[in-house]
């Protein structure tokens, strides 16, 4: 388990280093995630080194958001004043994102598979 903690923190630290050196406007944790994925693929890191702790963290991700959510109590006044635009815009926009992303994915996939079929037909 110590190894699992050590590896995950090492990738977070690596992410922090990348942000510090390059100044990219991307959080260190996202960079750490991409680096971890790449290292697993390259075989530098073995899956057994990280699978247990990462399974635990990933399955309980929601819990770690609770403190940030409690920060809500600091802007209750603002929310009371403007709750209509906040709630409406958030809910409708979330529905739009889900629909647009899903449609775009299904559409581009069917397009690319059609193109693929056309190409293979020509070859035949």
């Amino acid at each position: 388990m110590i190894l699992q903690f050590g590896v995950l923190f090492a990738f977070l630290a690596a992410g922090e280093l990348v942000v510090k050196l390059t100044g990219v406007p991307v959080p260190s944790s996202i960079i750490g995630m991409v680096l971890l994925c790449a290292s697993l693929k390259a075989g530098v890191v073995k899956l057994e080194w990280v699978d247990k702790l990462s399974a635990f963290l990933v399955h309980n991700l929601g819990f770690f958001f609770v403190p940030a959510g409690i920060g809500l109590m600091n802007c209750l006044g603002l929310i009371a004043d403007q709750w209509v635009p906040i709630v409406c815009a958030t809910v409708i926009s979330t529905v739009i994102i889900i629909a647009v992303t899903g449609w775009a994915h299904q559409w581009t996939r069917s397009m690319s598979s059609k193109m693929y079929k056309r190409v293979t037909k020509k070859e035949v």
Binding site: P25, P27, L72, M73, T90, I98
Partner: protein, 232 residues
């Protein structure tokens, strides 16, 4: 009672509310009893009733918040497990993520404007679909209110996690890949943990959605805000 402000006590209480809500949700099967939502609401009620301010809570809460970054790094594992599928459809993934990112930022800004939100609130809402660290960064840099952004981000995640699968079904999105992807794009890590409960494959695509949208939003949201007349 000074002990009520003790950070270890406040951490314990956070665990307690979350576990209680989890138990209640499992027993009753009521989706609305989302543990994140209930824990936040119960904790706010407790703090306000005991006249404890957020800064005091944060001394304990930060120890939980700290693990958020590590948990995001851990998402690299399910991502790795789906790498071959990602490679096979890199173009559809990039196109749909770009579409989702732009549609998300533009729609929330225009809708907030339409419903009469103030300038700062509009900017605070713009990055609401991505995880808190990215969203707060963008919001702060563009002149928004970072704590409001954090709260809206969490609320968005809870909504997306609870209603996401219904919206996917209603929009006639049939492939689990497209469904997972859109939930991760719209509702970041909270949506991803809901997707993970459904299946690892769903969850993995959700984590691709959250990663790509995080990157795209970090790069594009400032430009889109600028274009819509919200320059710094």
């Amino acid at each position: 009672m000074d002990f009520l402000q003790n950070k270890y006590f406040l951490i314990t209480l956070t665990f307690g509310f979350y576990l209680g809500a989890q138990l209640l949700q499992r027993r009753t099967g009521v989706k609305l009893l989302n543990p994140i939502l209930i824990a936040i609401a119960a904790m706010i009620c407790f703090l306000m009733a005991c006249d404890i301010d957020y800064a005091t809570y944060k001394q304990g809460g930060d120890y939980i918040d700290f693990w958020l970054k590590v948990a995001v790094v851990a998402l690299g594992v399910p991502l790795y497990k789906q790498l071959s599928t990602i490679k096979r459809q890199l173009l559809p993934l990039l196109v749909s993520e770009l579409a989702g990112c732009v549609a998300g930022v533009v729609s929330v800004v225009l809708l907030a404007q339409l419903f009469g939100a103030s300038r700062e609130v509009v900017i605070s809402l713009a990055p609401k679909a991505v995880t808190t660290p990215i969203a707060m960064e963008i919001s702060g840099a563009m002149g928004g209110i970072a704590p409001l952004t954090a709260a809206v981000v969490v609320a968005t995640g809870i909504f997306g996690g609870m209603a996401g699968f219904k919206i996917v079904k209603m929009s006639h999105i049939h492939s689990p890949i497209a469904g997972g992807l859109s939930i991760g794009t719209a509702a970041h890590a909270v949506g991803t943990s809901a997707a993970m409960e459904r299946s690892e494959r769903y969850g993995a695509f959700s984590s691709i959605g959250l990663t790509l949208n995080g990157l795209f939003t970090a790069l594009l949201a400032p430009m889109i805000l600028d274009f819509l007349g919200y320059s710094v």
